[in-house]
């Protein structure tokens, strides 16, 4: 008897979830259609902005998902690492190299800065792992989580010291114009951020799926003890993963600083949360999922902020986090994630 009621309850639950999801998707399509009819040009422009935001979020979200995948820790400090990356690039380009306008030298400095900022952020992230998280690897989950929150505060403090308490604007080395296709304006900056992000993502995929180090990462994520028995240096693999995540955050920091031209010490917290939402949306621990989730979140945010009929920018966070909560309730595994069985 009890089994039957349990089964019917499960079925009813699934039915409610399905119908709810259908209604939500239908509502979203309806909203998009209305906006599209109202002003198609703006619709496409906003979509493009959303995509470029999304690809930036993807870089940050990958860092979350890599770290979560390997040691099941939500690295709260990751967003702040991105913020520091932005600050570092701003100082590197504008103050140390004195580049303020787009030029041939500027491109060289940008390329140099990309490498420098990736190394910078990777070093910080590895350092954080070495100093704090490694000692807590066997501790109950609450401990590393609280440590990560503390780390985030310390990085914000560094940002506060470095940047000051307000927002700072910086000159951009990227060309400022845009070209039009059928009246839709596509800024160059967006195209450049695609041009940087996509090779980085491809390189990451190559590292994780094709190299020996990537194999070690996947093995460690599956079972640390077993991979240790197979001769994998687990500590080094985890450090490598943190380094990889940090490098991605650094690249994202440079891109953000150059496309938006601003830095602020509390930027990392906001963007980090959004990126984390993206990682959860795609199924945390899943690389393709993180990119997919980030693009979806970027699109939703872009559309909500920019469309004529929408809640507008001041509700941006509310929209993103409501989606996160709904997702957690109805599909905690995310879009591409596999259901996890709890080990007893």
């Amino acid at each position: 008897m009890a089994g039957v009621t349990y089964k019917t309850r499960q079925l009813r639950r699934r039915y409610i979830e399905r119908s709810f999801a259908t209604i939500a998707v239908a509502g979203a399509i309806f909203w998009l259609a209305i906006n599209f009819i109202k002003s198609p040009t703006q619709f496409f422009e906003v979509t493009f902005t959303g995509l470029s935001n999304g690809i930036l979020y993807a870089l940050i979200a990958l860092g979350y998902t890599l770290v979560y995948g390997i040691i099941e820790l939500i690295n709260f400090a990751h967003g702040d690492l991105f913020m520091l990356g932005g600050l570092f690039s701003a100082h590197f380009i504008t103050l140390w190299f004195g580049q303020r306008l787009p030029s041939a030298v500027g491109w060289g400095v940008l390329a140099l800065c990309l490498i420098a900022v990736m190394v910078f952020c990777a070093t910080i992230n590895v350092g954080i792992e070495r100093f704090a998280y490694r000692r807590l690897r066997r501790a109950p989950k609450l401990a590393p989580l609280i440590t990560a929150v503390g780390m985030s505060f310390i990085l914000q403090f560094v940002g506060l010291r470095w940047n000051g308490s307000g927002q700072k604007t910086w000159p951009s080395l990227l060309p400022n114009g845009h070209f039009s296709i059928f009246g839709v304006k596509l800024p160059y900056t967006t195209i450049i951020s695609f041009a940087v992000t996509i090779p980085v993502l491809l390189a990451l995929t190559y590292i994780v799926t094709q190299t020996k180090q990537g194999k070690a990462m996947r093995a460690t994520a599956q079972d640390q003890d077993a991979s240790r028995l197979m001769g994998i240096n687990v500590d080094r693999t985890i450090s490598f993963t943190f380094g990889l995540g940090g490098a991605l955050a650094g690249a994202a920091g440079l891109l953000f600083e150059q496309t938006r031209g601003l830095t602020s010490y509390n930027l990392g917290f906001q963007l980090g949360l959004i990126a984390f939402t993206a990682a959860v949306m795609g199924g945390i621990g899943n690389l393709q999922g993180a990119v997919l989730g980030a693009i979806i979140i970027g699109l939703i945010q872009g559309l909500n902020d920019g469309l004529p009929i929408g809640l507008g920018q001041q509700w941006s966070n509310t929209v993103v986090f409501s989606i996160l909560i709904l997702l957690m309730v109805f599909k905690p595994t995310g879009l591409l994630g596999k259901p996890t069985l709890e080990k007893v």
Binding site: A139, P140, V149, G150, M151, F153, F269, F321, S322
Partner: protein, 405 residues
């Protein structure tokens, strides 16, 4: 054999239930502490030389004491959620905000389209909803409990870290609603960033307390803190509290033992939220207004730091942690900074180091003393249980095995 004989002996002599001696001790200790502080501020300080009085004003002003008590109330609530039930809540500021706005709605002239007075000592001619402070406390607690269940109910299926993120999201959404709530389809919910001010003064025994009646407010806040301590201690030793501890230690095992997970976790959320609401109402009367931009993520983190520093799960530890951090935050750090700056002729802005201090505090506590200043014995064992299991040198505890037999 011994077990059986012990069991039968227990059954044969049923004891009459009585409050344990420790509970009388704490209430007497708490009361003495509160009264000593009260007498010190009311009767002793005014008769001391001026130099000493100004020292007290810079280092331990009475208003800072009241604010610290508000933090104690909220931290005790978070302790129930994090310390007892082991559910990490990173959005506690949401309940604080909801409690604050409850005070703003029901005890100020904010809704001036209505004119409702009940039990309030404010003049009857002022428009707005003016309820008595005590009714608003109750309302704030109820509304927060409702929201606690609302956010808890759908999310408690999640694993711990996911839960933390959902609460965090909730803690971001609620303040944003209040910040943007100036014009929701023409309805002014929260007066936006301008905030709601002033809030009615507390009425007590037909007397109206002005904003500077710190002594009375001190007594009220002490009473509220004592209420929270009472709730925490009584619940902990009761059936519900033991269920919380069991869930904290091993959720799966607890559910196998027949503990209803959902109900138990939800009640932890609700009780925690209630105290958040109480703290929100108290804070609104303390600062005499509600300002949307104050409800930031850092409040959630400061509360968490209080609980962690003091000792998760131990009421007294949390109280010490809350008083200490609240004091450092409000007066301790600026006063210390001024002292150091004037002594060494430096110019360091000490309050700007709060981020560093809280971050470092959380990390160092987690690395070196996970159980806090005043640890709770059970939690201490759990927090260190899996620490060294990597080293393959499990100490064989023969004594305990013998005892078990």
């Amino acid at each position: 054999m011994t077990i059986i004989s012990r069991l039968s002996r227990k059954q044969s002599t049923p004891k009459k239930r009585k409050a344990p001696a420790s509970q009388r001790t704490w209430s007497i200790g708490f009361l003495t502490m509160a009264v000593v502080i009260y007498i010190f501020y009311t009767y002793i300080v005014p008769h001391t030389p001026d130099g000493f009085q100004s020292q007290i004003q810079t280092w331990f002003p009475p208003s800072a004491l009241n604010e610290a008590l508000v933090w104690v109330i909220a931290a005790l609530g978070l302790n129930i959620v994090v310390g007892y039930a082991g559910l990490l809540d990173l959005g506690f500021v949401a309940f604080w905000a909801i409690g604050g706005y409850t005070a703003g709605w029901f005890m100020s002239g904010f809704f001036n389209q209505w004119n409702i007075h009940f039990g309030s000592e404010s003049a009857k001619v002022i428009p707005g909803i003016h309820l008595s402070f005590w009714i608003v406390l109750l309302l704030g607690a109820l509304i927060c409990a409702f929201f606690g269940i609302l956010i808890g109910a759908p999310t408690l299926r999640l694993k711990s870290d996911y839960l933390a993120i959902v609460t965090l999201g909730f803690g971001e959404i609620i303040p944003q609603i209040f910040v943007n709530g100036e014009n929701i389809r023409g309805f002014n919910l929260s007066n936006g960033t301008k905030g709601i001010s002033p809030v009615d003064s507390i009425g007590i025994f037909g007397k109206r307390l002005g904003p500077f009646d710190l002594n009375y407010k001190y007594m009220i806040f002490v009473f509220m803190a004592a209420f929270m301590v009472f709730i925490s201690l009584r619940l902990r030793s009761g059936r519900l509290g033991r269920a919380w501890l069991a869930i904290r230690e091993d959720e799966l095992a607890a559910s196998m033992m027949g503990i209803p997970l959902m109900k138990t976790k939800l009640s932890a959320y609700a009780v925690g939220a209630i105290s958040g609401g109480l703290a929100g109402v108290a804070y609104a009367t303390h600062v005499n207004g509600i300002f949307a931009e104050r409800f930031q993520f850092s409040i959630s983190i400061i509360l968490l730091a209080m609980v962690v520093l003091g000792g998760m799960g131990n009421v007294w530890g949390v109280m010490v942690g809350a008083l200490l951090i609240a004091w450092v935050n409000s007066t301790g750090l600026p006063a210390l900074g001024n002292e150091i700056n004037s002594t060494f002729h430096t110019n360091i802005n000490f309050p700007s180091y709060t981020f560093l201090i809280f971050g470092a505090l959380l990390i160092l506590m987690m690395l070196f003393r996970r159980e806090g200043i005043l640890p709770e014995s059970r939690l201490k064992m759990i927090l260190h249980e899996t620490d060294e299991s990597d080293d393959n040198e499990e100490p064989h505890d023969f004594i305990s095995e013998e005892e078990a037999l």
